[in-house]
Symmetry: C2
């Protein structure tokens, strides 16, 4: 792995653990094993490094999401798989955790987040629409709204789990969502 790659890897870890503002260049250098000057040799600024790291994270998360939502299973089962995906609730979402930082104002840093959430909503809505087409979901349901709701449950699950320092909060939020999903499923 090149020095540049080591830097990006370290940045990805630190962004997850501490967020953007608390990720100091010093910490990146220590974790990556790179020497002092190298960060500003490879990147113009801390923001550029973080943007590179977040682009990779966003791409990884989109791939994971797609793998689950495009599996060869009935659509609502894929939606349940999305909800039941294992999550490290106390760590928080790698992208969602950054939404409260000042830095969101900078376009290069917000765009990986917006790319992920846009894609996630679109894909989830598409699967819900498949469910409607095969008749397992009532046609009256607005799939875009429901997709937003389900993604919000996950993101909110992280918030609750961290606020209460209890990963069980995520599980409860997800269980509740699954119950609601059962209620709108149409038996064939």
């Amino acid at each position: 792995m090149s020095t540049r790659e080591h830097l990006v890897t370290a940045a990805k870890e630190l962004l997850w653990e501490r967020g953007y503002e608390a990720m100091s260049p010093r910490a990146v250098l220590e974790r990556s094993g790179a020497g002092q000057g190298s960060l500003y040799h490879h990147f113009a600024s801390k923001a550029q490094l973080a943007a590179t790291a977040l682009d990779e994270v966003s791409a990884e998360m989109q791939r994971t999401m797609r793998a689950i939502l495009h599996a060869s299973k009935p659509p609502l089962e894929r939606v349940r798989d999305f909800l039941l995906q294992p999550r490290d609730a106390l760590r928080g979402c790698r992208l969602g955790r950054l939404t409260q930082e000042q830095v969101l104002a900078e376009e290069i840093l917000r765009s990986p987040l917006s790319a992920f959430f846009t894609a996630a909503e679109r894909e989830l809505a598409a699967v819900l629409e498949q469910a409607q087409q095969e008749g397992s979901l009532a046609a009256a349901v607005n799939v875009a709204d429901l997709a937003a709701t389900l993604i919000a449950v996950v993101q909110g699950g992280y918030v609750l789990a961290r606020a209460l320092q209890d990963p069980g909060q995520m599980e409860r939020a997800i269980r509740g969502a699954l119950t609601l999903l059962d209620a709108i499923e149409r038996e064939e």
Copy 2:
């Protein structure tokens, strides 16, 4: 208002706008109009000031929540009122926005958050249970899970709205939740 109260008021505003780590003592002094030395005269540390401010915020939010959930209306209508409460989606939740900060490790700063979310879940679950007792909600539903889910939708709505810089995201997440709620409501 005393200097101390001015300091706390300024801290409440800044915690909402910027979060804890980005709230500098300097900014608190400027906003409150207090002189340099006065912060550390009235408070032992920035953390103590923030803890005082967050305790007030938590108490205010609990009062608001209670006012909605204890209204004299049918229980599920109160739950809908909770979901439909006006929110400044792009600003974020005054407490939920702090869940990703390092500072959560400090007990005095986490406890206002944990107090609010614990109370919110308890109160919401109680109202859902009333709905079960009067027969408007299926008895099979786990009210604690559902309460966590609904609070998560709101918190996740903030995350989505900020990530996409679009307050409509909150509205969609809420609308989806209302649709799901309709589906489990039992007509009398």
